[in-house]
């Protein structure tokens, strides 16, 4: 298992987990979202091939109402 943090919450993913699996785990839509892995942007095309490891932080963001 791979223990990662997704949007601030602990998640257990399979040993060969990828960014794509982390996004699915969260139940996030795949359109209109972007992912940072330990603060580095992972382009959409690299989600399936980018492995996530124990202790890493995944942030999945989308546009919301806000700011000026």
């Amino acid at each position: 298992m791979t223990a990662v943090t997704v949007n601030g919450e602990p998640h257990e993913l399979p040993a060969d987990a990828t960014v794509e699996m982390a996004v699915r785990e969260l139940g996030a839509p795949e359109r209109g979202v972007a992912v940072a892995l330990d603060g580095e942007v992972v382009p959409r095309g690299d989600w399936a091939s980018t492995r996530v490891h124990d202790g890493q932080q995944v942030e999945v963001l989308r546009a919301v109402q806000g700011g000026s």
Partner: protein, 263 residues
């Protein structure tokens, strides 16, 4: 027409989407405002949230301008801009790097650094800046597509606190000047346009008004009125009155000493 980085816009009102009660009120206000550009923030996905702000804005004919609201360092702002580019597919970003929790004033050093990095990375950068003419020039020098000085702190509704600095920024700028933050009501927006701003960005003044769509309509008219008044050329201020009617031909109505009636 408002021109930013080679793009033309009929409306000189940019809508900030923060503070609306819900997406329906936001959509109605957006239509009333006539805005063609609307800012959005980037936040963690909430799988339970319903409705997509991007869809609602696009259905109403607005283009999305992501911001870096909530960032306090150049590093965070740059990463947030890149995430927005990934999520939304555009190269434009409204850059905000805040330096103080209470006033939400920009951090000039972090802002300039982030602007430089993002411009080099191909972004069209519209920075929210303080009303410092030197900082505005520096932002323009590193390649920002516009400068967005504050009138007063975000959400304060105090209007334009330093009209002199704003005038200096407008005089010197070779890129559009967009007044961002501080506008409280329609007259503030009109004043900004009369002062020579190319556009205004409004969020709280509309979204937190008692009737947001009605205020959006008022703001649209105020922006248009301000632009037209500036073009029309206002009269100079004078210390004393200047009569608007000619003195020539003035009737003599004060009767001279009445003569004794003829008997």
């Amino acid at each position: 027409m408002l021109e930013i980085a080679g793009r033309s816009f009929v409306s000189r009102l940019i809508l900030g989407t923060g503070g609306f009660r819900n997406l329906e009120v936001m959509a109605e206000a957006a239509r009333e405002s006539g805005a063609e550009l609307a800012t959005v923030a980037m936040r963690r996905v909430d799988p339970t949230a319903r409705g997509s702000i991007v869809d609602v804005l696009e259905e109403n004919g607005l283009e999305i301008l992501p911001n870096t609201a909530g960032c306090f360092t150049a590093r965070d702002a740059v990463t947030t801009a890149k995430l927005a580019r990934e999520a939304l597919g555009g190269e434009w970003v409204k850059l905000e790097v805040i330096g103080d929790d209470r006033t939400l004033l920009p951090d000039p050093a972090e802002l300039l650094e982030a602007a430089e990095i993002l411009v080099a990375d191909g972004f069209t950068v519209l920075p929210y800046t303080s009303d410092d003419p030197v900082l505005a020039r520096r932002l323009e020098d590193v390649g920002c597509a516009a400068v967005m000085p504050l009138g007063s702190p975000i959400g304060s509704g105090m209007g334009i606190n330093n009209a002199y600095n704003l005038r200096l920024i407008i005089e010197a700028a070779r890129v559009p000047v967009i007044l961002d933050a501080g506008i409280g009501t329609a007259s503030d927006a009109a004043l900004a346009m009369e002062a020579g701003c190319d556009a205004v960005l409004l969020a709280s003044a509309i979204s937190r008004a008692a009737d947001p769509p009605a205020m959006a309509r008022a703001m649209r008219k105020a922006v248009e009125a301000g632009v037209e008044a500036r073009r029309a050329g206002r009269i100079p201020r004078r210390h004393y009155a200047r009569a608007s009617s000619p003195e020539e031909g003035l009737a003599e109505l004060e009767r001279a000493e009445p003569s004794a009636p003829a008997t």
